[in-house]
């Protein structure tokens, strides 16, 4: 009985030390991998607004995909002549959306998600949420897109 419990104890203590050692030895490698991802994202958040050129460059019913910080974005001029900008990441599985001339709606080519041009609301297909909106201002004929 004594022999058996001593063996069990030794096994346990060896296991505990092995686990502690493994944890200690793996910690630097875990931090090594994770710290690079955190550093890259920090730099990307700095962009707050961007100039998209002159109003006259966009005819009503047209759009342009562009880079906003590290993320893709979409500027749309509706048929009525109003400007709208969105974070162009589909809320379904993260594809980049585009403006469809045919549908007159924002559309995702990956799984056919459709969003409203004016509100960014998800209208059809699998997207669960509306697109994240950016704010658009027109200042003396120049279009400025900034974080909402």
């Amino acid at each position: 009985m004594i022999k058996s419990s001593r063996r069990v104890f030794t096994r346990w203590i060896t296991g505990v030390f092995a686990a502690l050692w493994t944890g200690m030895a793996s910690y630097p490698f875990f931090r090594y991998l994770i710290s690079g991802t955190q550093k890259k994202q920090a730099g990307a958040e700095l962009v707050t607004s961007i100039s998209m050129g002159k109003v006259d460059d966009f005819i009503p019913g047209s759009a342009k995909n562009f880079k906003f910080g590290s993320a893709p974005a979409l500027l749309v001029r509706s048929e009525e002549g109003e400007f709208y900008a969105y974070n162009a990441i589909c809320t379904h599985l993260g594809c980049t959306v585009q403006y469809s001339d045919e549908k007159k709606k924002i559309w995702c080519a990956c799984h056919g998600g459709v969003y409203d041009t004016v509100s960014g609301k998800n209208l059809a297909g699998p997207p669960p949420k509306p697109l994240k909106a950016l704010s658009v201002e027109v200042n003396e004929g120049e279009i400025i897109v900034s974080r909402a």
Partner: protein
């Protein structure tokens, strides 16, 4: 105890599917001789652990390293200064590489002096020599990648030495260099060789080496063969547990060395700057470097350097052919190889120390 032993349950589940107990039965039969020189049996295992460290840290370094001429140095600097434990991973890779070369020398010479290369272990010896060459190639190609001053000149000198090989040398050096000058072409080629070609070669040759060691078992030195009372211990678990303890101890020592003396990074390579004063190769090339310095530019009709390099070639060749010449049938030849080994070791150590002090 009434609790179910889950470990045993899992073992029998696995055994029914992959026949693990058959392998264990084979392993249990394996025995290791116990004698005064038993400590040398651990060297191969230590080399294996160091290679595993190289594989792991090499993969981790590739996460951030950029093999492009204007980014290579800054990406290593980024690893060293910006990434958590980046200095540790990079230092571990450099330190373990150097310690590995040292352990391989010890492993090779312990096998040499114990005459472990004799029948039936000739191919084990040849594959071991091939592994040493592969590790040298790892060292040479990896040395360039941080693209610092010393890396640049070490590669330049190394490739110029390779170019001196008769007939094929110049073409070979150009192929490795990717042109007449060291640049992006060299970095791309060395990176490819370092992370793809050499690892494949290493796994293949190390596989053969290990398989042969399992097939023949541990070599027994002459003194042990003649002994009246021979002592053996079981490989599983006795030797394996000790092996494991040695690995663990060794890994901790390496980690401590890395933490206390992190590996540095020189200024970025400038192909148009002069070589820095006091530039020296890595310690394992130092003996050759010091010896070549002694030679005059010309010896008779030959270039001194080429003769020196051919001399090193002959020295290495004698080590390589040891199993073919020293079969154990002739006592005189056996003695000659002993003396050669001693002279080689003394010469190597002497020139290395001289090179360090010089």
């Amino acid at each position: 105890m009434s609790s179910v032993d889950y470990g045993e349950k899992f073992y029998s589940w696995l055994d029914e599917r992959v026949g693990i107990s058959g392998l264990i039965k084979v392993a249990e039969k394996k025995e290791v001789p116990v004698h005064k020189q038993s400590m040398w049996y651990y060297m191969g295992g230590i080399a294996m652990v160091l290679l595993a460290i190289q594989g792991l840290t090499g993969i981790l370094l590739m996460v951030y390293y950029v093999p492009e001429i204007s980014s290579a140095h800054s990406s290593v600097l980024f690893i060293n200064t910006q990434i958590d434990f980046g200095w540790f991973v990079r230092s571990l890779h450099s330190w373990a590489a150097n310690i590995l070369i040292f352990i391989l020398f010890v492993h090779m010479f312990s096998a040499y002096f114990m005459k472990a290369y004799r029948k039936p272990r000739e191919i084990t010896w040849f594959s071991g020599m091939a592994l040493l060459v592969i590790c040298f190639a790892f060292g040479f190609t990896g040395y360039l990648l941080p693209w610092d001053e010393i890396a640049f000149f070490a590669t330049k000198i190394g490739l110029d030495i390779a170019a001196k090989t008769p007939f094929i040398g110049a073409t070979l050096a150009d192929m490795l260099r990717g042109g007449s000058e060291i640049g992006q072409g060299t970095i791309s080629r060395f990176f490819l060789i370092h992370v793809i070609l050499l690892p494949i070669a290493l796994v293949a040759v190390a596989g053969i080496h290990l398989l042969l060691v399992q097939l023949h078992g541990m070599s027994e030195p002459e003194s042990f063969k003649k002994a009246k009372k021979k002592k053996y211990e079981k490989f599983v678990p006795d030797f394996l547990v000790k092996d494991f303890m040695v690995w663990l101890f060794f890994f901790n020592i390496v980690a401590a060395v890395v933490a206390l003396f992190p590996w540095g990074l020189g200024p970025e390579a400038d192909p148009f700057a002069p070589a820095p004063a006091g530039i020296k190769p890595e310690w394992y090339f130092l003996a050759m470097f010091q010896f070549l310095k002694l030679l005059p530019p010309h010896i008779g009709p030959f270039e001194g350097e080429i003769l020196g390099l051919m001399f090193f070639g002959v020295l290495a060749l004698i080590l390589l052919v040891a199993p073919i010449v020293d079969t154990g049938k002739n006592k005189f030849i056996s003695k000659c190889f002993d003396i050669y080994g001693i002279l080689f070791t003394i010469g190597f150590l002497g020139f290395t120390v001289w090179g360090i002090l010089d």
